[in-house]
Symmetry: C2
Subunit: 205 residues, 2 copies
């Protein structure tokens, strides 16, 4: 038998340290890439290298856990965004806000070479987003001359830029998401001042 108080404190502390390690890992990985060593992570987390192995048995386990946390965080924010009950433009803005709020963790999911469960990302994150785009096309708010896949890719590319300029403090999170939504929906031409040049697309694929 053991005292509950002790266990409670301990497990709370464990969670705290575990989170610190994962955050540090996200930071270091996004900064130095896959070549970041366990010592780098330990230093960034302010713990000893051995401590990391007490929480994550191997490097692979750490990376997998990080990926898991990133997916969960992104999924939670996407779910809370309640995309289905917002207008499409508002839903797009919420998606960007969710991505920016995820911050560095989100970039873990977009870095090709790591331990990311692509199927989970697809199902938990990309699918609900893609649903917004499909709805946008159905409602006539989004172009239908491009596949939803490509629209999602384009929006995703802009989302990464939002992450970057919000991380650089070039713009605040709110401004950044407004900019991305505005550019994606209406483009970079001065508002209301369209035309002046024709850009025919090859008829839809």
């Amino acid at each position: 038998m053991f005292t509950y108080s002790t266990m409670a404190t301990t497990s709370a502390v464990r969670d705290h340290i575990s989170t610190a390690i994962l955050d540090a890992a996200a930071l270091v990985l996004s900064a130095k890439g896959d070549t970041a060593s366990m010592e780098d992570v330990a230093a960034a987390a302010g713990v000893g290298r051995a401590t990391i192995y007490r929480y994550f048995p191997s490097r692979d386990d750490l990376l997998s856990a990080l990926s898991e946390v990133a997916i969960d965080d992104a999924h939670r924010r996407i779910t809370e965004a309640d995309l289905a009950r917002a207008t499409v433009p508002e839903a797009l803005a919420r998606i960007i806000r969710a991505v920016v709020a995820c911050g560095i963790k989100f970039s873990v999911l977009t870095s090709d070479h790591s331990h990311v469960d692509r199927n989970r990302v697809e199902r938990l994150i990309r699918d609900p987003i893609q649903a917004v785009f499909r709805r946008g096309q159905d409602e006539g708010v989004l172009r239908t001359d491009l596949t939803t896949d490509i629209l999602v890719d384009l929006f995703g590319g802009l989302a990464k830029v939002a992450l970057q300029i919000a991380g650089n403090d070039e713009l605040g999170a709110e401004e950044a998401s407004a900019v991305i939504t505005s550019i994606f929906l209406d483009g970079a031409r001065p508002t209301g001042d369209a035309a002046a040049d024709s850009h025919p697309l090859p008829s839809s694929t």
Copy 2:
């Protein structure tokens, strides 16, 4: 003394092998990230590992040479695009075409963690592109509520998407560049069917 013919053949062969190694390095690095080993590169290039060291004394030298080649290639294409003599929308399309033509090599320049001379990239590649955006704003073709820096970043994000969908063979190079240009300039709303939702931007920073 030595025969010219021998030297000529040899140096031609050397150039050929050197290029093969650099191409393989670009391919492997973009696929596996910084963790790619010299053996990976050698295998991809179809040469022995020792041969790489005969051409590039160290791993660093290989990466630096690769970066150099990538910068030169991108710079050459940007220069040949003759951006200053095209309309802004046409210039944007040419930029995307140049990026897509660069292919995998271009992604070397955008991968944060490597031996890229940021100043050279800034001066040789980003500056001429930024000039197009500045001109676009001056001519009233591009919004002025965003800094040119941010516009370039946004366009860059879309350029990477172009690279990706062209690499996936989802779209041909021409289509991809047309799509990106069109989305960037006019957005994802159906053409001519604007309105329906207001998205006020915070007044320019």
